[in-house]
Amino acid sequence: MTSVAHAKPAGGAHDAHHAPMSFWRKYIFSTDHKIIGIQFLFVSLFFLLVGGLLAMQIRWQLGFPGKPMPGGGILPESMVSGGVILPEYYIQLVTMHGTFMVFFAIMPLLVGVYANFLIPLKIGTHDMAFPRINMWSFWLALLAGLIMLAGFFVPDGAARCGWTMYAPCSARPDLSGATYSQQLWSISIVVLGLSSVMGSVNYITTIINHRAPGMTWFRMPLSVWALFITAILAVLALPVLQGAAIMLLFDQTIGTHFFDPGAGGQPLLWQHLFWFFGHPEVYILILPAMGMVSDIIANGSRKPIFGYHSMVFAIIGIAFLGWIVWGHHMFMSGMNPTLGSTFMVSTLLIAVPSAVKVFNWMGTMWRGNLRFHVPMLNAIGFVSMFTIGGLSGIFMAATPVDIPIHDTQFIVAHLHYVLFGGSLFALFAAIPYWYPKMFGRMMSERIGKLHFFLTFIFYNMTFFPMHIIGMGGQMRRIYDPTIYDFLKPQQPINEFISYSAFALFAVQILFAFNFLWSLKFGKKAPQNPWEDNGMEWSLPNPAPHGNWDKTPNVYRGPYEFSAPEAGDKDYLPQYVKLPTDRDPIPAPLSAGGH
């Protein structure tokens, strides 16, 4: 109702950038969304490395069970015996690999980095709605990661029971064999949930209230749409996991019995709570990737995205369906078959909006003037790998098929096709794409292309055979497949997978080198290196603190490639005012504005 009440807090943040700031305020305890995004980037790449190292040890054990692991001698006796991985350590490896990759690598890479970095830049505002809460969101995420990492250094070793922490194993120290690290896992998840909710409240508020004049809902880039829907999922899903983790922590510490069947608790309750969070979490891990890939594919095809509105509604549809399918993780946990069929149907329905997206990406590329730069290559990799991952998802959604392949390596193959082939390829596209905006320099195209092709080959060599050994019956978290006669003939495939996985890991050194080397020695980036339409490219590289001096106006949608009005160029940025464009009408102060 009143003008004061409507003053945007962003104005305050904008004024602050004229004052000189100390190194600590500027780079460590920063409230600037871009610095926070970059902080998230470095921290989550570190956790990605941790998760990758754990994966290598898993592959050593599966490929060469009973053989001493090279370098295994540096690990303590509680983990290895004569260089051979012990079963107790193996279950810690699979648990912590999953935990780190899902909660501390992929999720912060997609949401922590790109929601923070892209949302204000792409909607044309100066900073997040609540910059200080944003800072806390980062520091809590880092704290949660360190608590999780500390699990490896407490007396009884890291958490076990798998990343899903199924009860009663996780609830009772006498069953898991670990006391402190199980508690650290629960505490870390509670802290991470807090961080995620704080971040998501920020993203939602910023997108709703801080869009630049002219940035209507349907002029927002699909990356922002995807991050918006993801934030809604996170805000509603993470608290459920927090509640579950708190109950688990109480079971572990003060002697409650929520999940302990011996005392009347219900282990299935944990599964319901975990997957009620867990399935929306799956879409938290893929929707931002889909959004960013849509931006990059339109750019690389020099065509407007095919079916913009259907893309938006597909995102919303996937997110909605994501709430009613959690039971498909529990077909084998003892479920009324009628209920199982319901979950099967709702799960199969998700294929519809997912297919809409895949066909729209192909429609965008069809007869486009394709530019195969590194982000585009990785984006195409995303589309193809996500399609395979999505198709294997249909196998498991069907209850009769799920029964034999449940908890086998087939599941491992599927989830890596969507998480590595999907999310991580999207990140290999997004990191070089917005690298100039972050650091003012370009990553090397040549190394990037080499990295893409090698990763693509070794990635498929690693994960595709897992479908086959999964069909052959190899269990998901088995310590030594050779103990079963029926799995012995598959052992050469396991060795092949391990060699491929080691090569895949080695190829990532190219990426790490490219990333770090380009920080200092990369080619200086021109202002709009990809000739893109997004608002962020109206700024110099790297973008200055506070972004724009004056809130920019937006004149059109984000995908005006090859538009006739563009003249001799084949792109028409959102911030360019043509003689035929009018400025947006200033926002009316809405009635009853309190």
Binding site: A5, A129, H210, L238, A244, I254, H257, L269, D581, R582
Partner: protein, 239 residues
């Protein structure tokens, strides 16, 4: 917009983004409350599943818990919601003062400082009564793990297992202390936030009828916490 050179060829102007029509702090609080709803949903949903999945029934209402005392406490919390509304209305009318010393005026005419203080006292009183209740319950032998061996409640449960829900005491304690404890934690956070606002904004008279966003935002949170308690009181104490 002055467009003296407007021609038919120009595109129609697009209105700037009004957003949600509310300021960001308030919108952010609403989004946070949605998230908090899901948190309590996890706890309350688990409670329902656990309670009705039991082979034997819960202790009868009032057998273990002191319902009259908590009823009084509920009244205290509802009063604090009323005083929060009064504080909001006071500052909207520009009444920043504590009490106006005018003959014929009653407490009804208190200002922001008065009603916020009442809200804080009621909120802190609620937490205090809850702590007192916890101490009493643990003294009787009601703990998160069930009825403590050798305690009064354990003896009662032996004598009358149905009334005291002897078989399911562990789950009763687990859910009771988790749900009410986290609600108490929310109230405590609210009281601390209100104290902070009281000393940094209310007493220095930073709020004006033009801008009292802090009061409105904390008010939203406070009413939410109050509402959660109405639900918890009903399902934990009364049924």
């Amino acid at each position: 917009m002055q467009t003296t050179t407007m021609t038919d060829a120009m595109r129609p102007p697009v209105p700037a983004e009004p957003g949600a029509g509310v300021y960001s702090n308030k919108l952010g609080m609403w989004v946070f409350l949605a998230s908090d709803v899901m948190f309590f949903t996890a706890l309350i949903g688990s409670y329902i599943v656990l309670r009705f999945g039991m082979a034997t029934s819960w202790a009868r209402p009032g057998a273990v818990l002191n319902v009259p005392l908590t009823g009084l406490n509920t009244f205290l919390l509802i009063c604090s919601s009323v005083s929060m509304v009064k504080a909001y209305a006071a500052i909207a009318d520009g009444k920043k003062y504590f009490l106006r010393k005018v003959p014929g005026k009653t407490l009804q005419d208190g200002g922001l400082k008065f009603w916020m203080l009442i809200t804080i006292i009621c909120g802190a009183g609620f937490v205090g009564v809850q702590v007192f209740e916890y101490i009493k319950l643990v003294g009787h032998g009601f703990t998160p793990t069930g009825y403590r061996e050798g305690s009064v409640l354990a003896e009662h449960a032996l004598a009358d297992p149905v009334k005291y829900g002897a078989g399911v005491a562990g789950m009763y304690g687990s859910t009771f202390f988790t749900m009410t404890g986290f609600h108490g934690f929310h109230v405590t956070c609210g009281v601390i936030s209100m104290l902070y606002l009281y000393f940094t904004k209310v007493l220095p008279e930073k709020y004006s009828p033009q801008d009292y966003r802090g009061i409105e935002v904390i008010g939203l949170y406070w009413h939410f916490v109050d509402l959660v308690w109405i639900i918890l009181f009903t399902i934990v104490y009364l049924i």
